[in-house]
Symmetry: C2
Subunit: 348 residues, 2 copies
Amino acid sequence: MTARPATLRDVAALAGTTPMTVSNVVNGRAGQVGAEVTRRVMAACETLGYRPHAAARRLRTNRRQAIGMVIVDPSPHYVSDPLTAAVLAGITARLGREGYSTVIDGVAPGDLEAAPLLSRIESDGIFLMTSGTPAERAAAVARVADLGQPILLLQEEVPDGVPDAASIVQDDRGGAEAVARHLFADGRVRHAAMLVPALEWPAMVRREAGVRAVLAQLDRPPTLHVLRTGDEGFAATQGALAAHLPRHGPPDALIGGNDQMAIAGMALLRERGLRVPDDVRVTGFNGLEFWRYASPPLTTVFSPAYAIGETAAEAMLERLATGAFPFRRHVLPVRFSVHGSSDPGGLV
Amino acid sequence: MTARPATLRDVAALAGTTPMTVSNVVNGRAGQVGAEVTRRVMAACETLGYRPHAAARRLRTNRRQAIGMVIVDPSPHYVSDPLTAAVLAGITARLGREGYSTVIDGVAPGDLEAAPLLSRIESDGIFLMTSGTPAERAAAVARVADLGQPILLLQEEVPDGVPDAASIVQDDRGGAEAVARHLFADGRVRHAAMLVPALEWPAMVRREAGVRAVLAQLDRPPTLHVLRTGDEGFAATQGALAAHLPRHGPPDALIGGNDQMAIAGMALLRERGLRVPDDVRVTGFNGLEFWRYASPPLTTVFSPAYAIGETAAEAMLERLATGAFPFRRHVLPVRFSVHGSSDPGGLV
DNA sequence: GTTGAACACTTTAACGATACAGCGTCAACA
DNA sequence: TGTTGACGCTGTATCGTTAAAGTGTTCAAC
């Protein structure tokens, strides 16, 4: 039933010309082809439903018109992490406009060898998101760098020794400073607690540093307890906070390392009869949409995840066009947004 | 600096054999090659860092080892919709294990012609998610069907006249029935309201039908008001509910068409001084993680989005291997999960 | 002692596209 | 009148891989 798809040769035969001329028409190479022939070729393409064969074109031109998105994480679910997905959305939108495809490859750290993208030459460049310990991350970057393709690291710094690479990160530190200034501005917070995962997650380290930097500038800084939870899940977060409360009493402010942790903490505080924001001011971090789901709505720092994706795509396209990334490291601003969870006097 | 990548020919020269033999080794074609030669070839591959050239292989075999994921939606952000992302995660995980790549193409309905995947032959099959009016959806399906590739529709029925296609949907109807039975079992709900977008979104239609089916079986069914909101956003949802309240008073139960709408409704009810679940029982739909973020936690119907992705990948692989999809239409069960928002007597 | 089957390779010819060189034709200009 | 070069097209070779057919050796079976 399905006939063999039409090739350049078929089109050329129907249009009474050569494959090369058809190629010129299809690729819009200006000034090479006359109007009359162009018209005939286009008609023939239409008639036969001609569609260029990407693989053949790639073989010949050695350009793949595709960028790989490699996500190294033990859990395949990571691809659906809201922030990852938002980055991906930004990438596909920008690349699609340029006629590039995005090839995804979610891969566990141990399976790097088996990843389709890495075992074959599939892309002109690679966006890389990694997770895990710093050592695991470095190993993943090294492995990917082996491919000899330009690499753009997302939410991650470029390690030394990887020449053809660049990185885009969000301003975690600045966001954390904004949170801290907001909470501590009126001097009424005396005891603050911060929730972060025990893992040495670089973004979390930067957020903690931002909070501490603000504290260091205050005349009468509040005490800060950093509660390190096993992971960022609800149970671990609530467990860490529950262990803290009897020993130190409730904090005046609770800084979530991310929205999920903030909401877990907030739920526990309210269970214990504490009012938010009147007794405890609560803030999140890295929010996209969750803040609205909390009650009261959560003060948070919005991640520019979609913009990171767009910027990454843009930078990669420039790298491919000019041979060099426009930057080695690029920081995108975050947006701090105050809502009811931290704002005793506010309306929202 | 970067030397030309090694080809089969280079490897063959180093191993003292022919490209064809190297090809046989690389592709593990059993019984064709002796142990000694195999060893030499593998060593040569290692030395030269040989990596198969996917485009050349594809040109020759006419197999692309990639499946396209086409998401037709006006907003590029749709790629990052949590449910879409979860489906995608399931797909990439399953396909990756089989050595297939996933190529993403988020595309606005008007830009279908420009979509990289559709203008070139990039994949062996296509997963399709569409949105918009039924007419827009049908047009998108027709356009994609033009490619002559097998199509797997996700969360969408297969229209007539598309032969090489199958669909996977979740049991919206069954989920809605579970919600309704839960709410109406004890006969204490007299007035129920349901929030759905005014658009004729098929999933929403099925959910409404499920609720009505349960009502029809009750001896003394409660009244049901279906509030059709402009879209599924916070503002539209709260507006519709706010307009409803003065005319009909508060309902005893509020059924959200999805979690987002349920939480918007719940927030408004509580603003008006109504207690959830004591005065109004609230339920969501299509939850992934949001339920935890609500206060009280939201009763909802979990979408098997990840499983849909896995099942889709599996079915596509079978289609490619056997020439036929294992089913024309497949329904995945949902999981109904009761939490505090609808459970006056409960603990959670 | 011939046949032939099994093995372990090699040879050839594509897959569909494009880079590049070439080649008539004709207008412009010295 | 002769040269130059722009224009518009054609011819050929090739990108890296693999299906299919071919080659020559070995060895068991009749």
